[in-house]
């Protein structure tokens, strides 16, 4: 706040108080983040330096965390692959196809999905979705078994990685569609009218004007959704049938890697001593993963922004 202006600005008490509290809030975020990071690092050290045989699983902390990290990424990627096209399609329908009255109602319903607690999605996944996926898994094993993703043996309960990914997809759908809808709604009317005036159909107009304009917003929404998918705990803990130390791309069997957040939730109540430090080390890995994802997302959004027409 050093004076760059020729005449120093008038500063009343209110100004100073507001500037101070705003700055304090900004600093508080950094302090909290640094505090969490420091806690994770300090408390995972005992697990990192412990002899491999003492760590749960008996093969060291990296082979314990590795499969969990793998499972976390797989579940989140399935969720993203399912939810992103769906979310964008919902947003396009609401902004450009649906009658205004219907769009408002539907938008409200989609937002309502975001308000449902994750444990409810977990119950929905285990009691409703999973049993209904079983026939599909049996079919997939028989007809698509040559693809490693559907190698089987198909689960008889449906508590598979694919089911978990679909549950996650439903959970992140409102985030992606809400943000996409916001940016699609902000496409300047001039862009759209120009495209239509050139003879574009509605689909061509969307392709030429709306999607390029909204691209960074869609990516941002997808990354927010990915963040939620990576950290989702209870729904996964309920739905997924896990086996410690597995790494497999087979999405339809009973044998699945767990995810970091779900594993912490499930193992912590019965853990003590080094086991807890190992769980914290896995938490550190998740923290690092989300950090990397966010940095990448920010980089992508920034790069895309140049071409989006937003500037």
């Amino acid at each position: 706040m050093t004076g760059v202006n020729p005449s120093p600005p008038v500063r009343r008490l209110g100004d100073r108080l507001f500037a101070g509290s705003a700055r304090g809030a900004g600093i508080a975020i950094l302090v909290v983040l640094a505090g969490v990071a420091a806690f994770l690092v300090v408390d995972s050290v005992p697990a990192l330096v412990a002899p491999a045989a003492d760590v749960p699983g008996g093969k060291g902390v990296f082979s314990y965390v590795g499969p969990l990290l793998f499972g976390t990424v797989i579940a989140a990627v399935i969720a993203l692959v399912v939810a992103t096209p769906l979310g964008v399609a919902i947003a396009l329908f609401l902004t450009h196809y649906a009658p205004r009255r219907l769009a408002q109602g539907l938008g409200y319903v989609v937002d309502l999905l975001a308000a449902i607690p994750s444990i409810v999605f977990g119950f929905w996944g285990i009691f409703w979705l999973a049993p209904r996926m079983v026939p599909f898994y049996a079919w997939a094993e028989e007809h698509l078994g040559f693809i490693p993703l559907f190698a089987g043996p198909a689960s008889a309960t449906g508590r598979t990685m694919l089911t978990a990914g679909v549950v996650l997809a439903v959970m992140i759908l409102p985030i992606i569609s809400a943000i996409s809808r916001e940016v699609f709604a902000q496409v300047p009317t001039l862009h759209r009218e120009a495209a239509l005036a050139l003879g574009a159909t509605r689909w061509e107009m969307i392709r030429m004007a709306v999607l390029p304009y909204g691209r960074s917003g869609v990516i941002g929404g997808a990354m927010l959704g990915l963040g939620r998918a990576l950290g989702e705990t209870l729904a996964i803990a309920l739905v997924l049938s896990v086996s410690a130390g597995t790494m497999t791309f087979n999405l339809i069997s009973s044998t699945n890697p767990s995810t970091i957040a779900a594993n912490i939730a499930l193992q912590f109540p019965e853990s003590s001593g080094l086991d807890v430090h190992t769980l914290i080390a896995s938490g550190l890995a998740l923290f690092a993963l989300t950090l990397v994802v966010n940095v990448l997302a920010r980089a992508v959004v920034n790069r895309r922004a140049d071409f989006s027409g937003a500037n």
Binding site: A130, P153, T157, A237, L238, S241, S254, P269, E270
Partner: protein, 370 residues
Amino acid sequence: MTLRNSTRATTVTVALASTLALAACGAANEGGTASTTGSGDERLSGTLNGAGSSAQQAAMQGWTAGFSGLQSDVTVNYDPVGSGGGREQFLAGGVDFAGSDSPLSDDELVKAQDRCGDAGVFELPNYISAIAVVYNLPGVDELDLAPDTIASIFAGKITTWNDPAIAADNPDADLPPTAITPVHRSDDSGSTKNFTDYLSKAAGDVWTYEADGVWPLPGGEAGNGTSGVISAVTGGEGTIGYADESQAGDELGIARIGVGEEFVGPSAEAAAKVVEGSELKSGRGDYDFAYDINRETTAADEYPIVLVSYHIGCVQYDDQDTADLMKAFEGYVISVDGQSAGADAAGSAPISDALREQAGTAVDAITVAG
């Protein structure tokens, strides 16, 4: 006051106990004071802290509720951190007693010397619960399974329900060719430890793994906690799992287990009976009632897949208050009232009179370190 009555019910053993306690104390410290045994405190106050087995949690809630009805100024806290954590905290002196699904190991017994002194520890099998083998197979309401058959199913060696081995156990049943999906616990649990202990002892030819709280086989369908296993078994067709009998519900079939020539279903009586018929682990303290459960029993009134969870505490505590509180609390837990309160809350099997009498000797021996 009922408490006093019920403890007095074991007066016969008190006399025996005091002599034993005297002997133990005499061996431990010069001039052991067994006089505290009969301290006539009617009203106690204070706090007892315990930690350990989550299997005992429901029963413990019943016990603490019942005990506070007798001694309203006493607070009993129980933290269900898990058996291993409970033993660890107890040995480190963090809590007054531990709840544990398995007795102290030899290493832990050495550590217990530091914690409790030479008088040692008591281990009381206060929580007994039958583990049911539950299955979901439409059209098959009754199922008998020999130990070798169960082991083969869970080891993945029998994969369809119409396998000849299952048919041999169930000559009258109409078994479908449905694939079998065995469901195990994904978390470290006393149920898994007792179930695998049963398999390794009763079907050692087929089940070549040792007893372990973590499921020893890689892969397969897994559920978290008893409720996770139950919902997985309920949700699939052709599934089979193991879970606390009280949690099995009405929807699932419960298999009868081959015991000798007969097939026996899980029940509270049969579960308590097998513990009574089992042998104590040898070479332990006078009040260390740790059992080697007789998994290979051939008595048709015993059900061998049981989970026994212990209360572990010191025979001598450093201060009078803790000793009095422990004596009163454990006295209540083993009493008829206490056991039925636990059974009501958790669906566990009340201990038999013989076990109660035996545990009474330990309760009467609890005293302050002299």
